[in-house]
Amino acid sequence: MAAAGSPGIRAAGLTIPLIAFIGVTFIAPLGTLLTRSVYDAEVAEILPETLAVLADWDGSGTPSEATYATVARELLRARDERTLGRAATRINRIQSGLRSVVVKTPRRLGRDADADPPSSWREALVDIDDAWAETATWRAIREAGQPYTARHFLNAVDLETRPDGSIGAMPETRRIYVPLYLRTLWVSLGVTALCLVIGYPIAHAIAHAGSRWSTTLLVLVLVPFWTSLLVRTTAWIVLLQNQGVVNDILVLLGIVPDNERLAMIYNMTGTFVAMTHVLLPFMVLPLYSVMRSIPARHMDAAASLGATPMQAFRRVYWPQTLPGVGAGSLLVFILAIGYYITPALVGGQSGQLISNMIAYHMQTSLNWGLAAALAAILLLAVIGLYVLYDRVVGIDRMRLG
């Protein structure tokens, strides 16, 4: 009977909204992101002819007069079409300083240059700026015109393409992303460790306290969960700032002299404290749910078998909480590695993480390609760690509750 298959089909149909939802909210943005990190046809569309002519250029000296003429014409048109700025920004990213060159060239050439061409376009352009006589300028334009590029990825790991085409490390002073990735990694590991150290006893207390206490404690852990992230982060500013509660108390107790108040906010300390606080529930909850399932009798049994409390904890209790430790740590770590708002608010200069840099390139410098590359590397790192975790611990051993 044909109808026999229909319940299965109908059941599959029920998952369509979910699949569509995942597609729209997850796959599509991710795809766009990854595309942006390697593909940018903006310059190719604005200066198509220039790039076509440059393709034949051997890359040494300066290109032919015809190329100068083409680029001048296209820059003039770009100015009229108001696309000049976008092209200038992108070329400038390859070689800084070229923005003004690109922008001022059509302006100086004047509206009538097309109708009344100069005898030598080359001379006219070099007159406007010496940069037009440099090989690097043309290389930059050609490079910016590549729709597919590994530039952003190289940039994101502090590498650059040298003029001779080889790939090498950036000069020391411009290496910022790799140190930032490392800092993010260390902060995330540190926050995860702190959350574990603080969260384990809390979860233990909640799981094994009498039922009245355990409810109270659980609510205490969850209340911050329900308040706005912004409020909680701001609360730390109130507490930790120079004239804040903690410093006041330390001064009052004479632990710290008044003129040497501790800098605990707008730096790495602030990031650490606030992130640990914000992420703590994500550690406590999986731990709690695993611990609650461990019968208290197990510890009695261990004691009756001759184990000291320490041995009983180490051999009987701790191993049984490992699935919760794994789940909580992975959760906190993955949340921490992409954390943005807290470091932005309380991290100051030294407490910024890679996400803040991604946000900067998204919102301020508008270098979406680089932002996408940075984000993609972060994503790869997380996936890599996840796979590593799966290999070492096994994802199926993880329990969220």
Binding site: P295, D300, A301, A302, A303, L305, G306, A307, T308, R315
Partner: protein
Amino acid sequence: MGTAAPHVEYRNVQKSYDGQTLVVEDLNLAVQKGEFLTLLGPSGSGKTTCLMMLAGFEQTSAGTILVDGVSVQDLPPDKRGIGVVFQNYALFPHMTVGGNLSFPLEVRRMPPTERVERVQRALRLVQLEGFEDRRPGQLSGGQQQRVAIARALVFEPDLVLMDEPLGALDRRLREEMQFEIRRIQRELGVTVIYVTHDQQEAMVMSDRVAVFRDGRIEQVASPETLYEEPERAFVAHFIGENNLVAGTVVGTDGDICAVDTGGSTVHAFDVAGSAPGDGVLLAIRPERVGVAPETGQYANELVADVVDVVFIGDHLRVRLRVGSRDDFIAKIPNIVGHGRVLPGDTVRIGWATLDCRALPPDPTVLQTEND
């Protein structure tokens, strides 16, 4: 026994969890070396609490517990060296069977070769050779049970506590395990204090049984004594089946008293040392009741109406009305030539004086009878 101290002794032990109600009222109990003693009682009567105080997981509120004549008051549980089998086994799920058994040996820093040998011996004892690499979750209930017993024995304690270890098993497995536990206990000569609320289990396994009720011991005796010579109505009611009839003492003669049961007077063995006018509860076992006996066969006789007759197989179960109550049970053995009775018959019933015990009255027990 001579001068040897009891293996375990509870002296005036009290326990209260909340500081108000006594869960254990005033416990005095001595357990001899190599004895199998069972704590038997209804749920909530304090049996587990008594075990946990001995094992060290609960503190006594008053009194002392002595092991080999020495107070264990200040000894933490891990220093007491008492094997414990918990109600729900409490096997460690993240360790294999071998790991579970070897755990107590490892914390005692026993060398590996000896450890392996001991584990093997323990597995052999509970007939689970070859199971050492399984996890507890991969075992049947009865197998887990045996692992729990093996684990409590593997470090060779001379005292083992078992808290309703067979509670979760079906009847057949239960009976098998009862036999096994008893065999192992005899083989090793360990002292076992065993908790159950199944009176049949207590009877089958124990050297002596302590009957608990509301934190007190009603009676401690061998199963046979408990059955034949209960001293309290609660015990008479709790162990096996008993007919309980309320009456008033009208006369005494040494161990024998005459009791008016509301119309007829019967004689009974006087347990409580009653005086005329005292209320008593008479306890007569159903199998000791003769139905329609030959005249003069029994010293005590009553007239009763047959309410119901049920054929069980090896016996007939006859329910009779005696006075105002209709829950008097008699068991008639199904033997050749025994007369049949039918519902509606009026019959004489009778019993020997020594088969009828006059016990101190106990309102709660009779109330239970009324339900």
